[in-house]
């Protein structure tokens, strides 16, 4: 059972990393404008 001492924190850390990534994505506006993001890639004159 000693392995649990490592495995549980590891699992929690992985879950926590997922949560962190999701929070970052949410905060940086990745889900704000799904329609616009889908179309923006077709815009070839974007000069910025």
């Amino acid at each position: 059972m000693d392995i649990l001492v490592w495995l549980i924190p590891l699992a929690l850390a992985m879950g926590g990393a997922w949560l962190g990534i999701f929070m970052w994505a949410l905060k940086s506006g990745q889900f704000d404008d799904p329609e616009g993001a889908a179309s923006r890639i077709l815009q070839d004159e974007e000069d910025v």
């Binding site: 929690l12 929070m23 949410l26 704000d32 329609e35 616009g36 889908a38 923006r40």
Partner: protein, 720 residues
């Protein structure tokens, strides 16, 4: 367009937020944008040195940032306005609602992470015993559970704690009070047990409860935000700008700054923003105010109301009242009054919470005192008391209403109806009077040419050719019904009709009875045009506003349970004819916006519950005053904003569907309450007497919640 040549920029200063570095930010709703292509066009037009523009295509919002002073905003936007788009500042309330939704998403993510990880611990703990697993391992798992659950409760429980605190600090209770108490106590006891190395640890129940409740809260918030959409409200529609005529030029001014005595230039197609008098004869579209389809002729010196649209030649208007004192200001005041009154309604869940919370807390306290009194140890007494709290945890009660609402809401959504207020279905169930507006609600709002058979074909073709050159609604209906090439050389006589001289010198006319020299018959409910040629008798062309196909059937369906009333601003003869066709017995014509409002006030005073159906500005006050209200999605933004439910399906069948569903939803909610009460009656005495361990309590509480959810799932199919 007849827009004045010199147009100054609009002043957005009030809505701009500037920071210390001189960067100004402005958020705007974009009107007239339909696709991503439009968005890129706007961005490109706006982008310049020191200006950043980014459009959110999904939400139709523009974020604008620039280096400079707030007053520059108007000039920057003018470039995009020149492309034909309109911009409205985002109201504070709307951005607050969007922020609340993002906050709930974060809470769900945190709670979801916790629930997922706790499941692993729970399974291991449930299927083993201290003997098979070893007590130290179990204690370690309990501590891990505590480690992730406690921060989650503190963070993700925020929406409930805040709402509970708000209610409690005002001396009220709502469902969030028992939910918060249960969350806090269950966490505290579990922590205490974990510290003591004991077995009664329920972090998993806490996290699961939190997760489920958050989902309900999120769906509720999203439904409301989506229903509101990009809709601007009445104030915003009236915000706009007006062209004030001054010596030697024209100045563009925000509508709120208009003052009596100013002289406005009103272009063709422009909306008047404050009450005034016309300086020249003109034709005005007053449909937003009266709901009446046909344009009105206003003589020079005649009174004009804010909200009317100029259909005639550009004219000058002398302002008589500020915008706040105008009829439109009146409607706003009525709506605000109605909204304050709306707070009187108490949701069923809160009504239950009002007696349930004190009862449960008192019961737990008595259990504790009782056990102490019989000489039990304080730990045992406290544990029993907490078991009582857990078992009575209003999970089932707390879930009954939101789950039923989410299910009913999604059923409505699939049928093109958006629920805008969470408790609309509750209020809808109690309705006993349904009031319809006529144009655009009970009728299609489209005028149709009726008597093609009765008219000679050559005359018809000539009339239609004349009609093709006019923008009058009746003429357009005629031109659409009889497609011929529009006549060249036809002249429009404002407010009377069309006239044309044929090459052989004869005249042709299409217009009002007076224009053709026929005596008028005011009693007739039909809309008419007359067509005549020199040397022959005028012919009458009849039009009508078509009733929705399902109107009569729907009215008959509603009449089984409710009184149906038709209130319209249109002429009484027209209203009577429509009422007869639809099978409505109670009707009134020539009703102005204030009278509609007062009619509902009277009905409410005599104990009736009113559902108002309307689509126009003239209905807005009535829509907010009614117990519950519905608007078609073709309605003006202002009406949609005031309404509790917005429906997309053409016709009026949605009303009857919504009424039926509301009744079924409430019966499901009552069943769920019944289930929860039966469960409590059985479980509570057992818990008080100490026959139930907290684990059994948590399991049975979850079971009762599952029952409630399962019951509500029936509503997904409309509750049949």
């Amino acid at each position: 367009m007849n827009a004045p040549a010199q147009t100054a920029a609009v002043d957005y200063t009030r809505h701009v937020s500037a920071d210390a570095g001189g960067v100004c930010r402005l958020r705007l709703i974009v009107e007239g944008m339909h696709c991503a292509g439009c968005a890129f066009k706007i961005e490109k037009a706006l982008r310049a040195d020191g200006v950043e523009a980014r459009i959110n295509v999904t939400e139709k919002r523009l974020s604008l940032a620039w280096q400079g002073v707030p007053a520059d905003g108007g000039a920057i936007l003018a470039k995009a306005e020149a492309l034909g788009f309109r911009f409205l500042p985002v109201e504070k309330q709307q951005s607050e609602e969007a922020a609340q939704l993002r906050y709930l998403t974060r809470c769900i993510a945190v709670a979801g992470f916790t629930v997922g990880n706790l499941m692993a611990f729970s399974l291991a703990l449930w299927f083993t015993s201290p003997e098979s697993m070893g007590a130290p391992t179990r204690i370690m798992m309990h501590w891990y559970s505590a480690l992730i659950t406690l921060p989650t409760v503190i963070y993700a429980g925020g929406p409930f704690f805040r709402s509970a605190w708000q209610a409690a600090s005002r001396g009220r209770t709502n469902m969030d009070v028992p939910i918060s108490v249960a969350l806090v106590l269950a966490s505290a006891v579990s922590l205490h047990e974990a510290m003591a190395g004991a077995e009664h640890v329920y972090f998993d129940s806490v996290a699961m409860l939190l997760f489920l409740l958050l989902i309900g809260r999120y769906l509720d918030a999203r439904m409301r935000l989506r229903a509101r959409g990009a809709a601007a409200d009445l104030l915003k529609m009236m915000q706009g700008t007006a062209h004030v005529a001054e010596d030697g030029g024209m100045r563009r001014m925000p509508a709120e700054d208009l003052a009596p005595g100013m002289r406005l230039h009103l272009a063709k197609g422009e909306r008047l923003l404050a009450d005034g008098t016309a300086e020249e004869e003109t034709v005005m579209d007053a449909s937003a105010l009266t709901g009446e389809t046909l344009p009105q002729i206003v003589a020079a010196g005649g009174a004009l109301k804010a909200g009317m649209v100029n259909l005639g030649q550009p004219l000058h208007v002398r302002i008589e009242k500020t915008q706040n004192d105008s009829l439109i200001g009146d409607i706003i005041t009525l709506m605000q009054k109605a909204e304050q009154g709306g707070a009187r309604y108490v949701q069923i869940a809160d009504r239950v919470a009002r007696w349930y919370t004190p009862a449960v807390h008192a019961l737990a306290l008595f259990t504790f005192i009782g056990w102490m009194w019989t000489g039990a140890a304080w730990q045992t007494s406290l544990l029993t008391a907490i078991t009582v709290l857990i078992i009575t945890c209003p999970c089932a009660l707390g879930l009954a209403v939101p789950v039923a609402q989410v299910m009913a809401g999604s059923w409505l959504f699939r049928r093109g109806m958006f629920l805008k207020s969470a408790d609309a279905l509750e209020r809808l169930e109690k309705v006993d009077t349904v009031i319809f507006d006529k144009t655009g609600t009970l009728t299609t709002g489209q005028i149709v040419f009726e008597n093609a058979q009765a008219v000679d074909e050559n005359a018809l073709r000539a009339a239609s050719a004349l009609a093709g050159a006019s923008r009058h609604p009746l003429a357009r209906a005629l031109a659409a019904a009889v497609p011929v090439k529009a006549a060249e050389g036809a002249h429009e006589k404002e407010g009377r009709g069309m006239e044309m001289l044929l090459p052989d010198g004869r005249w042709q006319r299409l217009g009002s009875a007076r224009f053709l020299g026929v005596s008028e018959n005011a009693e007739d409910e039909k809309m008419e045009l007359w067509f005549g040629e020199a040397g022959s008798a005028p012919v009458r062309l009849v039009f009508s506003d078509l009733l929705h196909k399902d109107a009569a059937e729907t009215v008959a369906r509603i009449k089984k349970t409710c009184r149906v009333v038709l209130l319209s601003g249109d002429r009484p003869e027209v209203v009577r004819a429509i009422a007869e066709k639809a099978g409505i017995d109670i009707w009134r014509g020539g009703v102005d916006p204030r009278e509609k409002y007062e009619w509902i006030d009277m009905a409410a005073a005599t104990g009736h519950r009113v559902l108002m159906m309307g689509d126009g500005l003239n209905d807005a006050a009535a829509l907010s005053r009614a117990d519950v209200s519905m608007s078609p999605s073709s309605a003006l933004d202002i009406a949609q904003n005031a309404a509790d439910i917005v429906y997309q399906k053409p016709g009026v069948g949605s009303v009857a569907d919504a009424l039926d569903l509301a009744r079924r939803t409430q019966s499901v909610v009552r069943e769920s309450f019944g289930l929860a009460i039966v469960y409590n009656v059985i479980a509570v005495p057992l818990a008080v007497l100490g026959f139930v361990t907290p684990l059994v309590a948590a399991v049975s509480m979850s079971l009762s919640s599952l029952l409630v959810v399962g019951n509500a799932l029936r509503l997904r199919k409309g509750g049949r």
